[in-house]
Symmetry: C2
Subunit: 408 residues, 2 copies
């Protein structure tokens, strides 16, 4: 690269940087923000703000909205994001369900679809199906394809983020070293990124306004945690942080790892349904090797527990107690004082995170820390993984240094 090209590229980047700063400031303003406020908030000159705003309006990313009266002088025009300025698609590959969302620039879900993951999901088949579903989503939302920034995939770890490869997930047979990111990119012709499900979920909670540092406890076919530390989504050196399946939580269940009482083994739907059958809470006709049957069995177990079946309650309470014990351990290790629970199974399991169990967690924590522990449920719902994957794509619009790059 010649010196002059380099200089031009560098100036280009500075321009992009300031655009990003302005876009992010507009995004963070709940009711719109004026050019004068943007200059004050960003430290850019009034002239620079005016120029950048003009470019962003021309690009369709922001719009002029209502005029806000001020004490003296002429009212100021408030700027807002243009929701239809850009879109992002999120795909969450869970061993039990595959979820798709299409978000606009302000994070509203314009289209959504969810399917049971095939019993023996073949990578090539899943890739082809996903590409077809993404086309369907674009059609349903009737949006302009050239405004789609890209597709984010949230998948169970371990993953290789740099290569976009699913390495060896414990609950997806036959998915060793699958280059899903590039395969999907080739199939849909859009830029694609891949990140870990629990991390994407934590990113989603942060994107939708969860403030401060927190631990996101993901409840799906597997359990895991996403971490927001120092106001940033934490990923670990290889983007594989959040693995907690072998933390011992004293649930009494032998684990193939050799220890007894591991969180993952005792929390998987298959084990919960099995225990429900063994202690008489469920009938004997569930095929434990059939994921959809297991998922339905878990829902039934929860329903029975809610309607007063004691053995069913016991199974779920033991699982919840384990989740809360692991939450306590991680909160104390990392000096975190807020926990968000969510993931595909949160809706089913939430009633069993009783106020009594939460109080017990807080009491135990208070004996070991000078700080108060607080908890909440996801603000996004069951789609949190897919929404998170899409929000990682939108991060490319609002951050000069997105955590996961799109392969385009």
């Amino acid at each position: 690269m010649s010196a002059s090209t380099r200089k031009a590229a560098s100036q280009g980047r500075i321009g992009d940087y300031n655009q990003t700063v302005i876009l992010d400031a507009v995004r963070r303003s709940a009711d719109g923000v004026s050019r004068v406020e943007l200059a004050a908030a960003t430290g850019l000159s009034a002239q620079a703000v005016t120029n950048i705003v003009r470019q962003l309006i021309a690009a369709g990313l922001i719009t002029e909205g209502r005029r806000a009266p001020i004490a003296r002088g002429k009212p100021r025009t408030l700027l807002n994001l243009n929701p239809d300025g850009q879109y992002a698609i999120g795909v969450h590959l869970d061993p039990a369900v595959i979820t798709y969302v299409l978000l606009d620039l302000v994070g509203t879900t314009l289209a959504h679809a969810r399917f049971v993951t095939p019993a023996h999901p073949d990578p090539a088949e899943v890739t082809a199906d996903s590409a077809a579903q993404i086309e369907e989503l674009i059609k349903v939302a009737s949006i302009s394809r050239d405004r789609i920034v890209g597709v984010g995939i949230a998948a169970p770890g371990p993953i290789d983020v740099d290569r976009g490869v699913i390495v060896d997930p414990p609950n997806l047979e036959g998915w060793q070293n699958v280059p899903l990111r590039d395969a999907l990119r080739d199939a849909v012709g859009l830029p694609v990124l891949l990140d870990k499900d629990v991390t994407a979920a934590a990113a989603a909670e942060k994107w939708y306004g969860e403030s401060g540092d927190f631990l996101f406890f993901y409840l799906g076919t597997g359990v895991g945690v996403g971490l927001v530390i120092n106001n940033e989504v934490f990923r670990g050196t290889s983007h594989n942080s959040g693995q907690i399946g072998n933390i011992i939580v004293d649930n009494g269940i032998p684990c193939p790892c050799g220890y007894q009482g591991c969180l993952g083994e005792g929390s998987q739907p298959r084990m919960l349904v099995h225990l429900g059958i063994v202690n008489g809470a469920l009938d004997h006709d569930v095929d434990l090797d059939d994921r959809p049957q297991v998922e339905a069995g878990l829902v039934e177990l929860a329903e029975r527990a809610l309607s007063g079946n004691y053995p069913a309650s016991q199974v779920l309470d033991t699982m919840v107690r384990g989740v809360l014990k692991a939450s306590e351990d991680i909160a104390l290790l990392l000096d975190l004082d807020h926990i968000v629970f969510g993931g595909p199974h949160w809706t089913t399991l939430a009633p069993f995170f009783s106020s009594g169990r939460i109080a017990e967690l807080r009491r135990r924590h208070s004996l070991q820390s000078a700080r108060e522990l607080t908890t909440s449920g996801t603000r996004i719902g069951e789609d949190v993984g897919a929404v998170g994957a899409a929000s990682l794509v939108l991060d490319h619009t609002f951050s000069t240094n997105p955590a996961v790059l799109l392969a385009g």
Copy 2:
């Protein structure tokens, strides 16, 4: 502050900042560094480097050393830190031993002292004793008092770093809400900082050259971990990260917390000695409420195990297995792949971290991660807490943004 004062102060800070950058670059050069190399490494102009170096030589912080021949032109003078340019004192308050070190600017320990912590340590008494010991250290090292940057205290958590207060450590009776930092400052008339023992220890390992991210596993009266993440010492929101006493590791020992098999309960010297007595490895004449007797009992237990006493080996092996299980859990949670073991009891316990147990840890880890886990022992030894506390003081010389402020 007037605009001109503000400007002057700001310029002063920029000067300080550049001085810090140069000092740190000199520190990181193993064999000395030339002015030309400093300019290249820091991006400062040759003139700026020359000026700053002149100031730093005048201040006694760096010295001109040998002349390095270069291919053409006159040989370049290499710059080194002046070891006697500044000093820092570290105090490690452990429930069993109190350790003092005096470091010079390159981190060499010039003086060192260690005492058994009194059976019922009174905060006022410990403060007075510490002040006296610090004076003794200064006398023994025969250094100039006005070159001491300050005193760092490493103490068990929970602590209140901002207020310099020891809040409520589990193994120090009567130490609730003790403002140790300011009390010691008033007693010795030097600036003082307070940080958590495990964090100080991790900082020491990093300071002495441990590179990359790692987990420092601290073995003392209590166990805990210090974390270096993204190349920085991790502290958590309230500087109290690293608490792991209630992680369950399946050692079979009931814990007062209500669970069975907690790491902290099964790892404390009191419990190890108790188990040694119960299974016949040790004689019955140890008073478990007497810390020095317990410490001696632990050393004896280790000696017996080393000389082939099976019950003694069993006690220590169960403890080591627990420590390694917790290490595995934390490494997977945080996607870390290096563990450093150390702390006051490391010398005693190291032989029981056998190659077989380490291999088992690595094998278990490899089943859950695509990465290789490595382990090592501390490079600093038993003084790691005190050395860490002193290194946090020296951080004020080499960083514009030290993690813990000195109260002066």
